[in-house]
């Protein structure tokens, strides 16, 4: 799966869970500050990403996922 495919998948999740416009989703965007995803929605994003990409994202890893790019890299190397 390419980085672009992972971004597209995350954009779908972000739209469903937190109402983020898919056009706003890009690698450098911060979940909290720029996409307005709060801490609880972030948990929902992580849970949905685990199911979609077949990857385990433990609780203590969630805080390291600051930007969309962080999440893409984590999924890329752990899926």
């Amino acid at each position: 799966m390419t980085r672009d495919e992972i971004i597209a998948g995350l954009a779908e999740i972000l739209e469903e869970v937190a109402g983020v416009n898919p056009d706003d989703v890009a690698e450098e965007k911060s979940f909290t500050d720029e996409l307005d995803v709060d801490s609880l929605s972030m948990v929902e994003v992580v849970v949905a990403a685990e199911e979609k990409f077949g990857v385990k994202i433990p609780d203590n890893e969630v805080q390291n996922l600051k930007t969309v790019g962080d999440a893409v890299s984590y999924i890329e190397s752990n899926a």
Partner: protein
């Protein structure tokens, strides 16, 4: 033994109403943040009342509505995690206030799941013939164990009590309290704790949220299966009122299209062991659920513990 059923409910909340704006005056928070994150608009905070005072008020109302008298009660079980006094326990103090002469009286501490634990403890005692008529109470004065300088927790909690009168179901009648599904996740228990002295409620919100929204729906479904009640036949779902978004998350995974969903958190906040009987008592009072209809109760939280069962609405 035919099992037991809930005859009546009662609840008590302190008169002092605290709004989100009131809290914004003491910690760095605001109404919009609190509504978005947890769905709470108001909560009631005790002034002079103790846990036992609130428990006795709720129990007195439930007893008055039951048709029984204090002389009929032979068991009192109180679910609480916030009683400062340890002995006599809250159950004994309630019995004393209500003039219940010689009941088996005990407190149960499983924090937010406490009422469902206490209810099944009474159900089991009645099934075993060890008790005939019980009062089961969830009562909390969380304001005593809240860190009022911590904006991540002090906006969440309220004080309240809710009570049920439980009696043996008549022979040949279906049990009104279904089999309990209960358990805990002790290896993760410290993510929501009240420890040390002076103890305050502390939690890792994201971890608790994830546990609650992913692990509990299958357990709630199991409680329905064990009671032989189809999910679409549930008339109401009364989960612990921890956070409106946790309730939404569980409901989404559970799939209960015809159930009234209790959302008392909006006006009462999180009242731990009191939240389920408080919300159920209000549903009964407002006649939102027909008598005899199946209602799923599900408590979860501090510890991490959980318990749930299907009951027949009184």
């Amino acid at each position: 033994m035919a099992g037991s059923r809930i005859l009546s409910m009662g609840h008590y909340q302190p008169s002092r109403l605290v709004t989100n704006d009131d809290l914004a005056a003491i910690v760095d928070t605001n109404d919009e943040w609190i509504r978005d994150r947890v769905g709470i608009v108001t909560r009631r905070i005790a002034e002079g009342e103790t846990v036992a005072d609130m428990a006795a008020s709720a129990a007195g109302k439930a007893l008055a509505a039951s048709g029984l008298t204090a002389a009929d009660i032979d068991m009192v079980v109180v679910a609480t995690c916030s009683s400062i006094d340890r002995c006599p326990n809250v159950a004994s103090r309630v019995a004393s206030k209500l003039g219940i002469a010689a009941p088996a009286a005990m407190d149960v501490n499983t924090a937010c799941s406490g009422f469902s634990y206490a209810l099944s403890t009474a159900d089991h005692a009645i099934r075993a013939g060890a008790a005939h008529n019980a009062i089961v109470i969830g009562a909390e004065k969380l304001s005593d164990i809240t860190d009022w300088s911590d904006r991540s927790t002090c906006v969440l909690f309220g004080d309240a009590a809710g009570a049920a009168v439980v009696t043996a179901a008549p022979d040949g009648e279906e049990p009104g309290i279904g089999p309990v599904v209960w358990g805990s996740a002790p290896e993760k228990g410290d993510v929501l704790k009240i420890e040390g002295w002076q103890p305050y409620i502390q939690q890792e919100g994201q971890t608790v949220f994830r546990w609650a929204t992913t692990m509990l729906a299958p357990l709630a479904r199991q409680a329905c299966e064990r009671a032989g009640v189809a999910l679409e036949d549930l008339a109401a779902f009364v989960p612990h009122q921890a956070n409106a978004r946790i309730i939404d998350g569980i409901v989404k995974r559970l799939g209960i299209p015809n159930a009234v969903i209790a959302k008392d958190i909006v006006e009462s906040g999180n009242t731990s062991a009191a939240s389920v009987p408080l919300a159920l008592s209000k549903l009964v009072e407002r006649r939102e659920v027909p008598s005899g209809a199946p209602v799923l109760l599900f408590g979860f939280g501090g510890g991490l513990t959980y318990a749930g069962q299907v009951i027949r609405c009184p």
